[in-house]
């Protein structure tokens, strides 16, 4: 597999804040690669370096084998970038925005329409509407169309799904798979842990450092402890009770369950007994397989 993006010891500071701290990684061509981490973890800074918009303090970055500093001009036509903040022209219509982006990259809507058809056809009925008057979901689709219209080899999407509802997010990911299968390398960031499972490989990122780069399945397997799901109708009382038990190492809410790990030398039986003593006679306990979010919580606790 050829390398599409290669970062080597990238460090970047803003004043006294270290946004990126000696980050290195390789992303293969035709890969759908995810950076998973919270706001402020350094994702946007990293993406601005990948897209040639920011020069790092230290380290080097190449895209398609070309240096992002020396060859930024030629690289820009290879890269499609969708920033986290909506950055299209609010007072141009849907169609005018798309036309504008096609024109500055020396192409036409017609030439690459096949790439955006599945996405753009959903907002085409509103092509005469100003971008500023679109709903969140439609803005997202227009921004993606504009990022794709010059047929980039690399698509960089900064939190495309933040603030988007669960169903639209699932549909958005279906579109990304199609683009990847067309041969476009995709780098995406998200704060949603469930979206991590949808990537080919992921990097967990926090405080400017990567906590591990691997397939989502392998990241999941890095979870070192036994994990149990405990449930009871009054979840907040259950959480407080579990936290107070010496036999419990960690307790985190996951929807209707609380995911629990056991303190060294203790057993789940002790937790079960304490729960019964505290009056949680209806509590259910099951051993479960950890997900990416469990791993992220475990890694960030260290």
């Amino acid at each position: 597999m050829n390398t599409a993006v290669e970062a080597s010891h990238i460090t970047h500071r803003f004043g006294s804040t270290v946004a990126l701290d000696d980050i290195s990684f390789k992303i293969g061509e035709h890969e759908l690669f995810g950076f998973i981490g919270p706001d402020g973890s350094g994702k946007t800074t990293l993406f601005r370096i990948i897209t040639t918009l920011l020069v790092p303090d230290k380290g080097s970055m190449t895209v398609m084998g070309r240096d992002t500093i020396k060859e930024f001009r030629s690289l820009r036509s290879e890269i499609g970038y969708m920033p986290g903040r909506f950055s299209l022209y609010q007072d141009l219509t849907v169609e005018e925005n798309l036309n504008f982006y096609a024109t500055i990259f020396g192409t036409t809507i017609k030439e690459n329409y096949h790439l955006i058809e599945a996405i753009y056809s959903q907002i085409e009925p509103f092509r005469k509407r100003r971008a500023g008057a679109l709903s969140g979901g439609m803005k997202q689709k227009l921004a993606l169309s504009c990022a794709l219209i010059h047929k980039p080899s690399l698509l960089v999407l900064d939190e495309p799904s933040t603030g988007v509802d669960a169903v639209s997010r699932a549909e958005f990911w279906e579109m990304l798979y199609k683009l990847r299968d067309e041969g476009i390398t995709i780098v995406v960031s998200t704060p949603y842990m469930d979206e991590a499972m949808r990537c080919d490989r992921i990097a967990l990122i926090r405080n400017g450092k990567t906590l591990g780069i691997d397939t989502p399945d392998n990241v999941r397997k890095k979870f070192t402890q036994k994990l149990f799901a405990v449930s009871s109708p009054d979840i907040y009382s259950l959480l407080l009770a579990l936290r107070s038990m010496p036999a419990v190492n960690s307790a985190f809410t996951f929807g209707e369950n609380i995911h629990v790990t056991i303190a060294p030398g203790k057993t789940i039986d002790e937790v079960e007994r304490s729960l019964a003593e505290k009056g949680f006679t209806d509590a259910k306990i099951n051993g479960i397989i950890p997900g990416v979010e469990d791993t992220f919580l475990e890694l960030t606790q260290k």
Binding site: P38, V164, D165, V167, S168, F252, F254, G255
Partner: protein
Amino acid sequence: MKDKVIEVQDMVKRFGSFVANDHLTFDVYRGEIFGFLGANGAGKTTAIKILCGLSRPTSGKVIVAGTDAFRSPEEIKKKIGYMSQRFSLYEDLTVSENIEFYGGIYGMTRKEIFPRMDLLIRKLDFESYRNTLIHDMPLGLKQKLAFSIAVFHGPEIVFLDEPTSGVDPITRRQFWEMIYETARNGITVFVTTHYMDEAEYCNRVTIMNEGRIEALDTPTRLKEIYGVSNMEELFLKITRPQNNKA
């Protein structure tokens, strides 16, 4: 009978020929965590604006904290707290200045503000941040502060509009623990979210679609009624009914 904090009957909001809220009817009870879910564009924001006194309904009956949203939307604003996804704190004011400012906005006197501020700062473990600019605070802490400020004046109800958007998994959970604690203290929490696991943390959940309320009940009951195993499936079933016919 349960004490109603919000009472909505046949609420309609039109923008020209577009019906954003199509005869909404629901009650919210005191001390409950009420989840307000729906796809983008379903009409959630329109409804929240009316409930917060920022916009008037076209027709229908809307009572929030005992006040009529038709006649006295200004009165409503005094009785509620509000926090949006992109926080409303002033970046170039310090922690204590923000607390003082918002306390003042809500009509609290300095005598009321300062002792309560000390309590809050101790409770949040923010002693070392008291004189820090919001700009220099980590995101997770800003979020906690924004929520604490939204309930600082002791409102009857607090509206949280996607409060955990983009927040890391640990902070998101800590944030929900603050929500639980607030509800236990009798403040009603009205919350929107796109995280389906968070829908499970609500006492009751509504799901809006195309301007209407399609479902309203406890998460457990809704899963039973629709025959699904989790909230994500339920959401899909309600917001994309055409997918289920195939």
